[in-house]
Symmetry: C2
Subunit: 341 residues, 2 copies
C-alpha cells in the first residue's frame, strides 16, 4: 500500500464575482502511512454543490471559509482500502466529507465518515437524493413549508439536486407543485420526469412582474409555500403571488452568490400576508438526519423519488464541474466520478 | 334621548402619499332611535393607530379598505347610554370598534363591543396597553421572538404604543432590550421611563451602515430578536447585526406606509444567519386575546408596565391626530378624548 500518490484540488485564491479555474490548483502528493485511528478511503464520487461558492469567500457565512492552499472540502463516497480504526474495515463502503481528492486518510470523526450498505440504491445517490441535498429538501418541505393537500408550492432551481427532491416531496404531501428553472430542457425534465404540475422558464420573463404573471397562470389559487434556492427577481415574483400565511423555506440565494445585489423589492408582502420566511442550513439539524435519510432511502429504493445526475469524469474535472453548476449548466445532482488508476 | 346629534368623521378621498385633512369630512347627523338589539354608546376616547393609514388605500392589505363616505373605523371606549340588547345596560363601560364619531348606535356584535370593569386601570388604557396595541406587542414578543434570558432584543418605533410595551415585555423575559426611536426626547422616554437598556435615535444616523454601527455598540452580543415596526434602513441595519437563529416579528412597516419603496437590501442575512421573519396581524389570533389581555391588565394594574399617551381633545382633532402620528409627533399611544357636550 506504500508509494500511492493522491491528487488533490487546493483552493489557491478567492474569486471576485464568478470563480475561474485559476482559483484552484491540482497537486499530487504521496499518501502517508496511516496513523492509529485513521482510515484510508478511495473516493468513487466527489460532490459538487452550490454552497461551495460561499465557502470560497473570505467573509463570514454559515460555514467557515474554505482555507486557502488546502484541499477543497466536500462530500464523497468511496470504499475503505485500509483501516486502523476499529469501526471500519477494508471493503466498507462509506460516505463522508473527504474533499476534492482521490483518497482521504483521516480519522473518521474528522471527515464525518459513516458506513453505508447500498443495495437498491446507487452509490452516487448518497451524495444526492439520499444525502445532504435530499435531507435539505426534506427539512424545508416537511419542517418549514409543511404543505397541506391542495395547497400550492413553488420550487425554484427545480431541476437541481435539492429542488427536484423538494418538489416531489411536496407533491407527495398533496400539493400543487410548480417549478421554476432556467431553460426549456430543464423545464421538460421537471414536469416530464419529476412530475411537477408545471415549470416556468424564468429566462423567458424579463422582470419580476412578468414572472409573477406566469406564476399567476400556473398557480391559480396563489402560492402557499415556496422552496427558495435563488432569490432576486424570482423571490420578488413569488412574494407578489403569495397567499396569506404563506411559508418560504429559504435554502439558497444563488442569484447573489457572486456578489450581485439581490434586494428584496417589497417586504410589505411579508406583513400584508402574514408570511413566514425562514432561512435554514441542514447541518444545524443533525438529529433529524436519520429520520430524513431513512424516508428518502425508502422512496428511492421503491422508485418513488426520481432524480438525474450530471457526472463529470476524473479528478481533473472538479473545478470545471463547479463552474458549470454555478452557471446552471447541470441537470440534477452534479458529481465527479473518479476512475481508479 | 331624542334629537341628539352625532358628529362623525368620514373618509371622503384616498391620499396619494402622506394623507391630509382634505381626505376627511366632519358631518353632523341626528341619532336615529335604537332598533331592537342595538346599543347606544357615548364615546370617551377614540383610538388613532398606524394601521389606519393602510386602510385609507384602495389596495388590498390585511384589512379591507376603509370605505369612502363612511365613518372612519377605529377602536373606542365609552359608556352605554341606552340599550335594547339584553347583554348590555345603561351605565356599562364598553370597548369596541365604534369609529371616529361621538356616539355609536349599533348591534354590539357589529362593533365588537365588550364590557370592561375598569378598577385599577384607566379607561384609556383599553385602547393601548390593555387593548389592541398591547396584545400586538404580547404576541410578537411571546409567540415569535420568545426571548431567552440574556438574549438581545431590538424594538423599533420604541416610543410608540406597541413598541413601548413590546420592549418592556422582552425585558421582563430577561432580554437586553435596545430601542430605536426618532429624536432625543423619545429616546429619553424609552430609556428613562420604559427602562430599555439603550435607545438609538435613528435620525442621528445617515444610512443603514451608520445605524448598524450604533446597533453594534448598543448590542455587543448581536441581535437575537427584533420587534420591527418600521422597515427600510432600520430593518437593513438590524439584519446586519443579527445573530444566528434571530427572530424578527414583523409588525409594521411605517417607512413604507405612504408608498415609499422600502426594499430589503440584503436578504442574504436571513439565510446566512438562519433567521426567521414572520409577519403577523393580531386580529388573526382572537383565541389568544383573553390570555394576553389578562396578563397585560395585571401588569398595568400593578404598575409593572408603563406607557404614555398623546391625547388630542375633541372630535374635531381626530384627523390631525392621525397625521401627527404618521409624522412621528406622538409619544406613546395616540388618542382623541371627547368631552360630553
Amino acid at each position: 500500500m506504500s508509494a500511492r500518490s493522491n491528487r488533490q484540488w487546493l483552493l489557491v485564491s478567492r474569486p471576485r464575482g464568478m470563480p475561474s479555474l485559476e482559483n484552484f490548483r491540482l497537486v499530487e502528493r504521496a499518501l502517508p502511512a496511516l496513523e492509529p485511528g485513521q482510515v484510508l478511503v478511495r473516493h468513487r464520487f466527489l460532490s459538487v454543490d452550490p454552497y461551495m461558492r460561499g465557502r470560497m469567500n473570505e467573509a463570514k457565512s454559515y460555514a467557515p471559509p474554505q482555507p486557502l492552499d488546502q484541499v477543497m472540502g466536500g462530500g464523497t463516497v468511496g470504499e475503505v482500502l485500509e483501516s486502523r480504526h476499529q469501526g471500519f474495515a477494508a471493503g466498507d463502503v462509506v460516505v463522508g466529507m473527504g474533499g476534492w481528492q482521490e483518497y482521504s486518510h483521516a480519522a473518521p470523526e474528522a471527515s464525518a465518515l459513516r458506513r453505508i450498505e447500498p443495495r437498491a440504491i446507487p452509490l452516487s445517490a448518497y451524495l444526492g437524493a439520499v444525502g445532504m441535498p435530499g435531507v435539505t429538501a426534506w427539512y424545508g418541505v416537511t419542517r418549514i413549508i409543511a404543505p397541506k393537500a391542495g395547497e400550492t408550492v413553488v420550487v425554484s432551481a427545480a431541476a437541481g439536486a435539492v429542488g427536484g427532491i423538494a418538489g416531489q416531496l411536496a407533491r407527495r404531501a398533496g400539493a400543487h407543485v410548480v417549478g421554476i428553472a432556467g431553460g426549456a430542457e430543464k423545464c421538460r425534465y421537471v414536469t416530464g420526469e419529476l412530475g411537477f404540475a408545471e415549470c416556468i422558464d424564468y429566462r423567458a420573463h424579463a422582470d419580476a412582474a412578468a414572472l409573477a404573471g406566469a406564476l399567476e397562470a400556473a398557480c391559480p389559487r396563489g402560492i402557499d409555500g415556496a422552496f427558495e434556492n435563488v432569490g432576486g427577481l424570482i423571490l420578488d415574483a413569488v412574494l407578489m403571488r403569495a397567499n396569506p400565511f404563506a411559508r418560504i423555506a429559504l435554502c439558497g440565494l444563488i442569484a447573489g452568490y457572486n456578489g450581485e445585489p439581490i434586494p428584496l423589492a417589497a417586504p410589505q408582502a411579508i406583513l400584508v400576508n402574514r408570511m413566514r420566511i425562514e432561512g435554514f442550513i441542514i447541518s444545524d439539524h443533525p438529529a433529524l438526519w436519520p429520520q430524513a435519510l431513512g424516508e428518502l432511502a425508502g422512496l428511492v429504493a421503491l422508485g418513488q423519488l426520481r432524480y438525474r445526475e450530471s457526472i463529470a469524469r476524473g479528478i481533473e474535472a472538479a473545478p470545471q464541474a463547479l463552474l458549470d453548476l454555478l452557471a446552471g449548466r447541470n441537470l440534477g445532482k452534479q458529481l465527479v466520478e473518479l476512475t481508479p488508476r
